[in-house]
Each structure stands twice: as structure tokens, then as C-alpha cells.
């Protein structure tokens, strides 16, 4: 474990060094991300300051949905950024060099390239989310525990999705479009999933579990989630992670080096 952590630290250090080699670019990207966040935040705030409600949620609750989405999406981006660089490893054959190393390949290809840009943004989302969590007077004592538990569950689902994408990349070298697809679909959870009419809402809670990932943590915090839904979401996270690991192992069996 100590060895794994020191390797992870080393990979993260290299990744941060690489990113900071272009300080102007880093600055501009962070500025752009802050502008995007601020403008959408302003838009929702401005809109709901007139209507007061969105499908039964108050302005504060709606903003918490958006902040929770941003937080989960930001942490997933921060942790799994290296997946975006997986394709060249497969197409150039250098993945063999990773697979033959005496550590789990996920250490390098899944979480080995943390994105420093997202660290800044995750901190901003976290501070805002904490502020709005305090604004909402949750009716039961375990609400914060449930909220954090469901965020962790969302990250497990995100990890599972990224592992599936890696597995797909192994057998088809198709990464970029799959990643875009995943990100676009998760964006549907930037607002309460209740805004969608049926059958989209059911699909987003079952087939493509964006609702479970993005809306359930806030619903759990607000006490709107039944115990069955809570168990369902945790089970779903476990099953998806197990399935993704199975897919990865199967893909590895079929993998043939492209090097040459």
C-alpha cells in the first residue's frame, strides 16, 4: 500500500509539473472554467429569483443540485484525467510498457494523471456547496453522512464508467468519443433530474444512472430519498464497478499489442 501511494504521488507530481510547464495556459483555462461556472450560477440564480421554484425545489436547493453536479464532475475530471491520454498508449503500443510494470495498470492509466486545473475548481465548488448545505436546514441528523456517501457512490459509478471506457479502448482504440458521450450524458444531471419528463427520468435513474450519480446526493440530503432508493443506488454503484472490472479483464484477454 505504501509503495502504491508513493507511486501515485510520483505520477501526480509528474502530471502537475507537466501541466505547470505552460503557466499562461493554466491561468487562462482556470479563468475560463471560473467564468463558465459563474455565468451558469448567475443564470440559475437570476432565473429562479423570479420564479422562486423549479419543479418543486427552491432556489437554494436548485443551486445545491448544480453545485453537487459540478463537484462530482470536477472530482471525476481531477482523478480520471489520464484516461483522456489512453488512446496513444494503445495505438503506439506503449501500453505494453505499462502492463509489464509490477504495479496495477490503473495506477497509471486511470488515476495516474491528476489535473491541477480541476483542483482549483473542486475547491471552489466545495466551498459553495458547503455554504448552500448550511443554508438548507435538513430535517434529519444523518443527512450530511448520506450526502457524502452518495457522492462517494457517484464517484464509484464515474470510476466504473472510466474503466469501461478503458476496456473499450483496449479492444477498439475508441476512447475520445466514448469519453465525450459519458461527459455529455452526465451533464443532464446538472439540474434536478425531476425537470425531465417520463420516460427520460426513468432512463436517467436506471439505464444511464445520471440521476443516481448527480441528483441522489442532494435528494438524500433533503430527506427525499427512501431507504430503498438509497440501497438501490449503493447496489448499483457496486454492480457497475464489478461489471467494469470484469469488462477490463475480458478486454485484456483480447488485447493484442499494436506496437511496431
Amino acid at each position: 500500500m505504501k509503495h502504491t501511494l508513493s507511486l501515485l504521488k510520483l505520477f501526480s507530481y509528474y502530471s502537475i509539473k507537466k501541466t505547470l510547464a505552460q503557466p499562461l495556459s493554466v491561468f487562462l483555462f482556470v479563468v475560463a472554467k471560473i467564468i463558465r461556472f459563474a455565468l451558469f450560477f448567475f443564470f440559475i440564480h437570476y432565473l429562479l429569483s423570479k420564479t422562486r421554484m423549479l419543479v418543486g425545489y427552491t432556489l437554494t436547493e436548485t443551486l445545491l443540485f448544480f453545485l453537487t453536479f459540478s463537484l462530482i464532475d470536477g472530482i471525476a475530471q481531477l482523478l480520471f484525467r489520464e484516461v483522456y491520454r489512453f488512446r496513444p498508449l494503445v495505438t503506439e503500443g506503449t501500453l505494453d510498457l505499462v502492463l509489464t510494470k509490477p504495479y496495477h495498470p490503473f495506477l497509471q492509466i486511470l488515476i495516474g494523471g491528476i489535473d491541477i486545473l480541476d483542483v482549483v475548481m473542486v475547491c471552489i465548488y466545495g466551498v459553495f456547496a458547503l455554504y448552500f448545505l448550511r443554508q438548507i436546514d435538513s430535517s434529519y441528523s444523518l443527512s450530511l453522512v448520506v450526502y457524502i456517501l452518495l457522492i462517494v457512490n457517484a464517484l464509484i459509478i464515474a470510476a466504473a464508467a472510466h474503466i469501461c471506457i478503458l476496456a473499450l479502448g483496449l479492444i477498439s482504440s475508441e476512447i475520445d468519443n466514448a469519453l465525450s458521450l459519458f461527459r455529455d450524458i452526465t451533464r443532464l444531471g446538472s439540474l434536478p433530474i425531476d425537470i425531465y419528463s417520463e420516460p427520460i427520468r426513468t432512463i436517467l435513474n436506471t439505464v444511464v444512472p445520471v440521476g443516481v450519480m448527480m441528483s441522489f446526493p442532494v435528494k438524500g440530503y433533503l430527506g427525499l430519498l427512501s431507504i430503498q432508493s438509497l440501497v438501490y443506488s449503493l447496489l448499483l454503484g457496486t454492480v457497475l464497478l464489478w461489471t467494469s472490472l470484469y469488462m477490463w479483464r475480458r478486454a485484456l484477454v483480447h488485447y493484442q499489442s499494436w506496437g511496431g
Binding site: 495556459s25 487562462l28 463558465r36 451558469f40 432565473l47 421554484m53 423549479l54 427520460i200
Partner: protein, 237 residues
């Protein structure tokens, strides 16, 4: 994938406004019928005025392949405009198809303008919006003549456009001073002006702003291009 992203964005915005109108009949002076017409209309307009091919030029400058354009006996700007127009032949029908899907699934009540002159003004406004967007996007790509940091400014531009060009909401719902300030920038003329004009929600005088920004953006792009090619040097392989 790009179209899927736009479809997701359309779905989010459509459903957001649908949710907002669940509690009220009118908001910011817009009825649900007008707002939904605006949101679907602006999607078609954005498919027309968003430039796709100009982003490649920055890469061409950095790789040096821009010399291929320089040695050809054709106008670089006209060549790119033709490429963009060809791109529209794919994206505009796809955008209409996506809106058709939404209409089939959700049956929104839409406002269809019956005033023919409005369509002529729309055509003029959307043409100028496309050109302004094209020249500004091209100018951004020309940054590559001086620096390799091309993606961050492009990202900022995309983020700003996605909010202040009117793709999420009609800009006239903003506080009056902010709306007036925005009209002094080129962004409202990309998406908002054509859509609001055809819906009869904005005066034809917005075309004057479009015209002014068209001249400014063309002059700017031309100036940066001429400066850039003087700076440009490349060793062949």
C-alpha cells in the same frame, strides 16, 4: 459527438424552461409559447452561425501546413468561407432533425411568425451573424502566428459565447443596463439577434449593430492575417 453534445444542451435548456413555466404563465415578458419558440429557433440559428472549420486554422499555422493555402491561387478567406458553407449543409439539416425529434416527443406549442418581411430580416441578420462569428473565430485562430497557447483563448471564447450570445435565454430578459452593454459587444448578433428579430421580439435596428460588427470583425481578421503571414516562417520537411 458534437451534435450529440448540442442535443444534450438543447434537452437541458428545453427542460429547464419547461420546468420554470410549470409555476408561471409568463416570465420576463415571455409566454411559454414564445420562450419555447425562441429556444428551438436559436438552436437552428446557432447551427448556422457557429463556425466549425476555422478552429483548424490555428493547428495549420502551428504545424506549418497553412503554407498549402498560401501557395494556392485562391483567396484564403473565400476558400474558408466556402468550406464553412459546406459544413452548414450537414449541420443545419441535423439541427432541424433534432428539433423535429423534440417536437415529436414533447409537442410544444410554438409561435410561428406569419409576417414575411420578418423572414427577410432574419435571413439578413443570420447571414451577418455567421460572418461576424466566422471572422472573430478566424482572428482567434490567427493568434497561433505569435503563440502556441491557442486552446485556452478559444475555450474562453466558447464559454463566453455559450452564455452571452443568447443560446440559453433571450438576452432581453437580463437587466436593462446589462442588456445594453451586451448589445455593444459582437456576441448578441451570433444567435440572439436573428432569433429575436424573426419572433418579433427585437427591433430591426439590431441589424445596424450586426453591420457595424461585421465591418469591425472583417477588418480585424484581415489586419491580423496580414500581420501574421509577415511574421510566419516555416521550414519544410
Amino acid at each position: 459527438m458534437w451534435r450529440f453534445r448540442l442535443l444534450v444542451q438543447l434537452l437541458i435548456i428545453y427542460m429547464l424552461w419547461n420546468g420554470v413555466f410549470a409555476h408561471t404563465d409568463t416570465i420576463f415578458g415571455y409566454s411559454k409559447q414564445y420562450m419555447m419558440s425562441y429556444i428551438l429557433g436559436v438552436t437552428v440559428v446557432s447551427a448556422i452561425t457557429t463556425t466549425m472549420r476555422t478552429t483548424d486554422i490555428a493547428g495549420d499555422v502551428l504545424k506549418g501546413t497553412v503554407v498549402n493555402y498560401l501557395i494556392k491561387p485562391i483567396s484564403f478567406f473565400k476558400y474558408l468561407l466556402a468550406k464553412e458553407a459546406a459544413d452548414k449543409l450537414i449541420h443545419v439539416p441535423l439541427a432541424i432533425f433534432e428539433i423535429g425529434l423534440l417536437l415529436v416527443f414533447f409537442h410544444p406549442l410554438l409561435y410561428i411568425p406569419s409576417n414575411i418581411p420578418l423572414y427577410l430580416l432574419f435571413f439578413l441578420s443570420v447571414s451577418m451573424g455567421w460572418c461576424i462569428s466566422f471572422f472573430i473565430s478566424l482572428s482567434l485562430s490567427f493568434i497561433a502566428f505569435w503563440t502556441t497557447e491557442i486552446w485556452a483563448p478559444r475555450f474562453i471564447f466558447t464559454v463566453v459565447v455559450s452564455f452571452v450570445a443568447g443560446s440559453l435565454f433571450p438576452l432581453d430578459i437580463l437587466p436593462k443596463p446589462l442588456y445594453i452593454v451586451l448589445l455593444a459587444t459582437p456576441f448578441p448578433y451570433f444567435f440572439y439577434a436573428p432569433t429575436a428579430i424573426v419572433l418579433g421580439k427585437a427591433p430591426w435596428t439590431l441589424l445596424i449593430g450586426s453591420g457595424i460588427w461585421l465591418i469591425i470583425s472583417f477588418t480585424l481578421a484581415r489586419f491580423i492575417w496580414q500581420k501574421g503571414i509577415k511574421e510566419f516562417s516555416f521550414y519544410g520537411i
